[in-house]
């Protein structure tokens, strides 16, 4: 009888310990996450013919109040938005077509027109996938600003499950 009680107590304590740990882990994960200026929206998964260049439209969203340079900024000092796929993952980026930037003028400098993306934008990628299931971690490099200040250039991961059939 005593052993049974001890067993129940032990199980309860074990459960309590695990729950505490999980709660800590979740809380910590939530508090360190900082929102990115650019968020990848979709697709999460695509199926393409294996070995054949196939179009995939990648959708992104820029945080309100911010803009990022387009793929073709007008000044060569500015950092363009560029999509890439690391080599060796079974999926190759053959080509990426970027949307044209929209004009953006800073209030203090009405003469200078910047070429930027705001809100949502789509990159039309052409990818070639080997046969099989590939968890691709494409990269989007960009540099974001608001009307008065700029953030350092950043590269985010664009996770896509590519199935080559």
């Amino acid at each position: 009888m005593l052993d049974r009680k001890a067993g129940i107590c032990a199980a309860a304590a074990l459960l309590f310990g695990i729950v505490t740990l999980l709660a800590r882990g979740q809380d910590y994960g939530r508090s360190v996450a900082r929102p990115s200026a650019v968020e990848y929206l979709f697709p999460e998964q695509v199926t393409v013919p294996a070995g054949k260049a196939s179009p995939v439209a990648l959708h992104f969203r820029i945080a309100p109040g911010l803009h990022i340079n387009s793929h073709t900024p007008r000044e060569d000092f500015l950092i363009p938005t560029v999509l890439s796929i690391p080599e060796g993952g079974g999926v190759r980026l053959e080509q990426a077509s970027y949307p044209a930037g929209t004009d953006f003028v800073l209030p203090v400098d009405p003469k200078t027109r910047l070429s930027v993306y705001t809100g949502e934008f789509v990159i039309q990628a052409r990818i070639v996938a080997a046969a099989g299931d590939h968890m691709v971690e494409a990269k989007l490099r960009f540099q974001a600003c608001d009307q008065n200040a700029c953030m350092p250039p950043k590269t985010i991961t664009v996770p896509i499950d590519v199935i080559g059939k």
Partner: protein, 211 residues
């Protein structure tokens, strides 16, 4: 007997889990404290009683400017301490920063105007430097140098500003300017593009000339 052994193992396991939970909790608290410190160092926008406008209030204000020694583009080491006795504007910028490019001509004008009164600007580039790749590092320095020449910056330009990030409140966005008086204390700070008038007012404050 077998049951007793099982209970003992379970108790030991639970103790191990608690020890682990305690360690995780300690790490969590330590990291939370570090995050709090970092946030405190980042400053905030406050509305001035003088003009009703929002100004960036840095926690460095009223305190000695954190000391540093950085290289200029020629590799010469330059330290903030060597400017003691002068009013200094520490301006963090980067080649990719549009607003920095807009304010630089203002800084050049103001530096030339107030230099005779004992004022200097230290332009600190926050462009990333690839120290492990000499070829890339050379190109990055060349790019900074091209910007400096294009903007005709007459004041010392130092590189590797990112290494001062923690000391100067994160530098999460640029431009960021700190105005240091002749005694080495921060008297004002600005985050982002403001106006030439506001910069001049802060330079005069650093010089001890009032607004």
């Amino acid at each position: 007997m077998k049951r007793n052994s099982l209970v003992s193992i379970a108790v030991l396991f639970i103790l191990a889990v608690f020890a682990w939970a305690g360690w995780a909790n300690f790490e969590y608290r330590k990291q939370a404290a570090e995050r709090l410190l970092a946030n405190l160092a980042q400053g905030e926008l406050v509305v001035s009683a003088d003009d009703g406008a929002a100004h960036f209030l840095s926690p460095l204000q009223g305190k000695p400017a954190p000391a540093f020694t950085l290289e200029d583009l020629s590799g010469k080491k330059v330290s903030l301490a060597s400017y003691k006795g002068k009013a200094v504007l520490i301006n963090f910028w980067a080649t990719w920063c549009g607003p920095c490019k807009l304010e630089t001509p203002w800084l050049v004008d103001l530096r030339n105007h107030y230099a005779a009164q004992g004022f200097e600007v230290l332009g600190i580039s926050a462009d990333d430097l690839d120290r492990d790749d000499p070829a890339k590092l050379g190109m990055e320095k060349k790019e900074i140098s091209r910007f400096v020449q294009q903007m005709k910056m007459p004041y010392p330009v130092l590189i590797d500003g990112g290494s001062l990030s923690k000391l100067y409140g994160g530098l999460d966005s640029l431009p960021a300017s700190f105005f240091v008086d002749r005694n080495g204390n921060v008297v004002a700070a600005q985050l982002g593009l403001t106006s030439k008038d506001e910069i001049e007012g802060n330079i005069r404050k650093a010089l001890g000339a009032g607004k």
